[in-house]
């Protein structure tokens, strides 16, 4: 066996196919976005669905360009993102910690299962009045709703992830007398990580949805409140422009997490398979 410790020149040569691959990378997403954009332009124009209630993409974009000139939009985005981020971090932290604790202690899991299943399907929106009463109409209410909704997403994923540990890997750790912490950190965590990532990605969009919904319903300043105003004034194009912003935020969030995933899950079959299989 020979490890080709490539000298610099060689490494440059070896790297040659890589940029080609990297260059190819954005093609698929761009094609996907283009197709979607064309549809978003043509379907409303055709008037097949929904008459003129669905503005074509071009006018939505024009509206958005106009809005982008005002600080109002950027402030709103900033506020929404703040609520979203705080809520998401709290939800993920709570979900991961509780998930591991419950997932690793069988009797705790048995004891909490019924309660979890009871609380999970309760919609955050139904809790809005109670939340306003306790947390007020500020962004804290939005954060609370996000934590409530996002927590379950992460929790369930973590529970399934913890269950997915390879028995041989677990026995290996046990035979070498790994401490509980080491088992968690070196065996459970890496196994559950792909599940956790899916949980975070689910929670991230749920959190964004709730940040906006909370602003929409409660009236906390932010994107949602702008949408609410646009909606109740009948400014459909404006409303879709704002919805577009929300969607783009969602896409950016996903790009971020995909990147994180690629960095932390390099060993995972889904990431490593790139290596030359037919």
């Amino acid at each position: 066996m020979e490890v080709l410790e490539a000298p610099p020149s060689r490494r440059a040569g070896a790297a040659a196919p890589a940029p080609a691959r990297r260059k190819r990378r954005p093609v698929a997403p761009v094609v996907g976005i283009l197709i979607a954009a064309v549809l978003a332009e043509l379907i409303p124009r055709s008037g097949l669905i929904a008459g003129d209630a669905l503005p074509p993409l071009s006018s939505v974009l024009a509206e958005l360009a106009r809005d982008a000139g005002h600080a109002e939009l950027w402030e709103a985005i900033g506020r929404t993102v703040r609520t979203w981020l705080i809520g998401l971090v709290l939800a993920v932290a709570a979900g991961v910690v509780v998930g591991f604790v419950i997932g690793l202690v069988p009797w705790l899991r048995a004891a909490t299962a019924s309660t979890v299943e009871f609380l999970r399907p309760i919609p955050s929106v139904a809790l809005i009045p109670a939340v306003i009463l306790i947390f007020g109409t500020g962004f804290q209410s939005g954060v609370t709703l996000i934590v409530y909704a996002g927590f379950w997403q992460v929790l369930v994923q973590v529970l399934y992830g913890v269950q997915d540990i390879d028995p041989v890997a677990r026995e290996t750790a046990r035979s070498y007398r790994f401490s509980a912490w080491a088992v968690l950190r070196h065996v459970v965590w890496p196994t559950a990580l792909p599940f956790v990532f899916t949980g975070i990605r689910l929670a991230a969009s749920v959190a964004l949805v709730l940040a906006i919904t909370a602003e929409l319903v409660i009236g906390t300043p932010g994107l949602g409140q702008l949408i609410s105003v646009a909606q109740s004034s009948g400014a459909t194009t404006e409303m879709f422009a704002l919805v577009l912003v929300a969607g783009v935020l969602g896409v950016l969030v996903n790009v971020l997490f995909r990147l994180g995933e690629r960095l932390t899950l390099r060993w995972h079959p889904s990431i490593r398979r790139a290596g030359g299989a037919r």
Binding site: M1, E2, V3, L4, A6, A14, R266, R272, A274, G275, G276, A277, R278
Partner: protein, 266 residues
């Protein structure tokens, strides 16, 4: 005899995670239709890599594999593979019988024939009563035998086996060796057999291909001119056997040491 398998200037480089490994530098050889060829070589030589390229599972970096005249671009029809990682090649959600049956269903065989083939294969590997167990309820050696049974029941034209007897005990191993040779002889299956065991390679093959250490090339190609009828006790005791054994052994020693072959090239 026509050429069944042709490997031409095969080269395989793994590139992943910043590690670039030249597993196979340049391998050329051909295997005739109905031939039984054993492949030996040091650990990490690229035997598994070679087999996967032959099976159309890995794309060579350069060179090509030709099977019955047409270049291999994907897994060809009528080929069975026994993987080195036998445990992971069985589907844990299927029972032993179902695991063996699945490829047969793919072939479109009728129900009764499949049932018969599965039962015969299970009996051949001495697992007659484990058919309804799941693979993870079996011992390592039993799992490996299931993987062998699956390949055997498939009745392939080409059989690729990657250290198929590594996890079974000596006695079972001897039985399985004879099973594989019988199958090969009766059905005329072109067989490529990777092993670490020099005695095994000599006992089984009509030919032993010795690979060098990585980056790999063919170091020696030994024709095993023992009689077709072989016997675990008598064949292994012949002077011819001992000589061939020594020859292959030398080849491997050379391979480990990185020397060119010192044994006479066939």
């Amino acid at each position: 005899m026509t050429d069944m398998v042709e490997v031409r200037n095969l080269k395989k480089v793994y590139e992943s995670q910043g590690r670039r490994i030249e597993a196979i530098r340049d391998i050329t050889f051909t295997v005739a239709r109905g031939e039984f060829a054993c492949i030996v070589g040091p650990s990490g030589a690229g035997k598994t890599t070679l087999l996967k390229c032959l099976a159309g599972l890995l794309k060579p970096t350069a060179g090509e594999v030709v099977l019955e005249g047409s270049p291999v671009t994907g897994p060809p029809l009528g080929m069975a593979v026994v993987f080195q990682e036998y445990g992971r090649s069985l589907f844990p959600w299927k029972t032993v019988r179902q695991n063996i049956d699945l490829p047969l269903r793919q072939k479109g065989l009728p129900r009764e024939k499949r049932d018969r083939l599965v039962s015969e294969a299970l009996t051949a590997v001495d697992l007659g009563d484990a058919g309804r167990a799941y693979p993870w309820q079996l011992s390592g050696g039993m799992q490996q035998r299931v993987a062998i049974a699956r390949a055997v029941a498939y009745e392939p034209h080409v059989l690729l086996m990657d250290e198929p007897f590594a996890a079974v005990d000596a006695q079972t191993r001897a039985d399985l060796e004879d099973l594989v040779r019988t199958l090969w002889r009766d059905l005329g299956i072109t067989t490529l057999f990777v092993t670490h065991d020099i005695d095994e390679s000599v006992y089984l093959g009509e030919r032993v291909i010795v690979l060098s250490a990585s980056p790999t090339h063919v170091l020696d190609d030994v024709r095993i001119d023992l009689p077709t009828e072989r016997n675990q006790v008598t064949t292994r005791a012949t002077p011819d056997f001992a000589e061939l054994r020594a020859r292959v052994h030398r080849g491997i020693q050379d391979a480990k040491a990185g020397r060119p072959a010192t044994g006479a090239v066939a």
